[in-house]
């Protein structure tokens, strides 16, 4: 076997493993969310399928795959088919730039535990997270239903309120690590994670990614109390499942990004780097679920006010203060 084909094989293996782990994790995150929310409400949650209900995601998958796939007759068919993919694919693509472990050495060659070590990884993430909202907007538009349309509009309006502060909160990270490359950002946090230097940026980023993955204090595009299910009201079967799994992949990916940017990525004592990365990421996932069990939904204008009048100015001030501090030291 030539060295080149071995490289290809290792890369394909890594790719398949990452893909499999992310999808399985997303499915089990749905299960975990149902269990944890049940505990918050003094219930037990799904515990019938398999031991402790662990086969529940499989049962859900079978249910979604065998359900009737309804397309509203007035819907814009092509866009209607396209939207779920546009919601799920950017989410999983973002994971490509996240380093999830220390580089391995196999057969005398370095195997970096990141799918694509882009030198503009951070910008790649920001670009893809902007594309992801097209799934919401197109899905809401193509369904030809007033609830879906309102959900799609809200998704767009939400994007312009949180995305600016999300991008601005990452500028100090770039200033500190002097790189857009996520591997370099993790390497810069070998001794001290950036959350110590940038607690404000961390809080702004955390709030922004909650809005980015459309979770409960900011789940305005879905808002089942007001808009039935918002942009995916008209979706059924596996198309709905794709939206759904995209949301949970987003949780994992954004948790991984918060880990990478602020908690030192895979750095940590004693345990293996991959374990540290998973623990930190899952801690974020748990926090999102916990938050869903705790907070009520914000009103539409409250989110806009909060994004534009609080988060963005704070992020700007934070950038100036960081620059001033960097110039002094």
């Amino acid at each position: 076997m030539t060295a080149f084909s071995l490289d290809i094989l290792l890369f394909a293996l890594k790719l398949a493993l990452v893909f499999f782990v992310i999808l399985t994790l997303a499915a089990y995150l749905v299960f975990a969310e149902r269990r944890v929310l049940a505990w918050v409400q003094d219930r037990k949650g799904p515990n019938r399928v398999g031991p402790c209900g662990l086969l529940q995601p499989l049962a859900d998958l079978i249910k979604l795959l065998t359900k009737e796939d309804v397309v509203p007759s007035a819907a814009d068919h092509w866009l209607f088919y396209l939207a779920p993919a546009m919601a799920a694919i950017p989410a999983i693509l973002i994971f490509a730039v996240i380093p999830f472990g220390a580089p391995l050495t196999i057969y005398g060659r370095q195997l970096p535990l990141v799918v694509a070590d882009l030198n503009v990884g951070l910008l790649f993430f920001l670009a893809l997270s902007s594309i992801a909202v097209y799934g919401v907007a197109i899905g809401g538009w193509a369904s030809n239903s007033k609830y879906s349309l309102l959900g799609g509009i809200r998704g767009l309006a939400q994007l312009i309120s949180y995305e600016l502060s999300m991008g601005l909160s990452l500028v100090p990270i770039v200033m500190l690590s002097r790189s857009f490359n996520l591997t370099d950002i993790v390497a810069a946090q070998e001794r001290v994670p950036f959350i110590v230097y940038q607690p404000l940026a961390f809080i702004i980023f955390l709030i922004s990614i909650t809005a980015e993955c459309k979770r409960i204090p900011f789940d305005l595009p879905e808002a089942e109390g007001e808009l039935v299910a918002g942009f995916h009201t008209e979706y059924s079967g596996m198309r709905f499942g794709l939206f759904f799994v995209g949301e949970y992949i987003n949780i994992i990916v954004l948790g991984g990004l918060a880990t990478t940017f602020f908690l030192g990525g895979w750095h940590g004592p004693l345990l293996a780097p991959v374990v540290w990365f998973s623990l930190k990421t899952l801690a974020f996932a748990f926090f999102f679920i916990w938050m869903r069990g705790t907070l009520p939904r914000l009103r539409y204008d409250q989110l806009m006010h909060f994004g534009w009048k609080v988060l963005t100015p704070l992020a700007l001030v934070n950038i100036v203060v960081t620059g001033w501090w960097l110039a002094l030291t």
């Binding site: 944890v36 505990w39 918050v40 409400q41 003094d42 219930r43 037990k44 916990w290 069990g293 705790t294």
Partner: protein, 176 residues
């Protein structure tokens, strides 16, 4: 300052949900665990017998009249000795709302509620209970009560033999 009090309120909410996460769930895992209903729980309806083993029901239609959903129907008949009984008696449990008004209305304590709440079936027609399904061998809640001993004047026993009944008086003996 409202910023600090708001932050404290939000964090307090997180504390409460965390405390509930660690609390024991109140769920009763139904098919495996069953709660024991109280003796006066209102579920499946039965027809009871008097202490002598006879049917208590005298087919007076009061239960049927009291029933707000009209799920009780019957046909009255009379034995040779004048005792009334139900030729057939039917309760449609798919309609019954287990309000207990029939049991309250019954003058002979024949119709009674039991705590047996597990009567669901696959076929809705199985929920139509006939008299032989409803009739039980015991007396139910009031084991000593026998309607005819109290009020069945001259029907199943000679006049004056009942518990709360005086001997018939020979009115000629009262003449001055």
């Amino acid at each position: 300052m409202s910023f600090f009090s708001d932050t404290r309120a939000i964090l307090g909410g997180f504390r409460v949900t965390l405390a509930h996460m660690l609390r024991k769930p109140v769920t009763i895992q139904y098919p495996e665990q069953k709660r024991t209903p109280y003796p006066r729980f209102r579920a499946r309806i039965v027809l009871t017998r008097d202490p002598d083993g006879g049917e208590r029901c005298v087919a007076c239609y009061l239960c049927s009249a009291a029933c707000p959903v009209d799920c009780i129907s019957m046909q009255s008949a009379e034995q040779e000795n004048g005792r009334r009984y139900a030729a057939w008696f039917r309760i449609n449990f798919s309609r019954c709302i287990f309000c207990g008004l029939c049991a309250e209305a019954c003058p002979t304590l024949a119709i009674q509620m039991t705590p047996d709440y597990e009567i669901c079936t696959r076929d809705i027609m199985d929920l139509v209970y006939e008299k032989e399904d409803l009739l039980i061998d015991g007396c139910g809640k009031d084991s000593s009560y026998n309607f005819y001993k109290h009020a069945g004047i001259g029907v199943t026993q000679p006049r004056g033999e009942g518990q709360e009944e005086s001997r018939p008086l020979d009115i000629r003996s009262l003449l001055p």
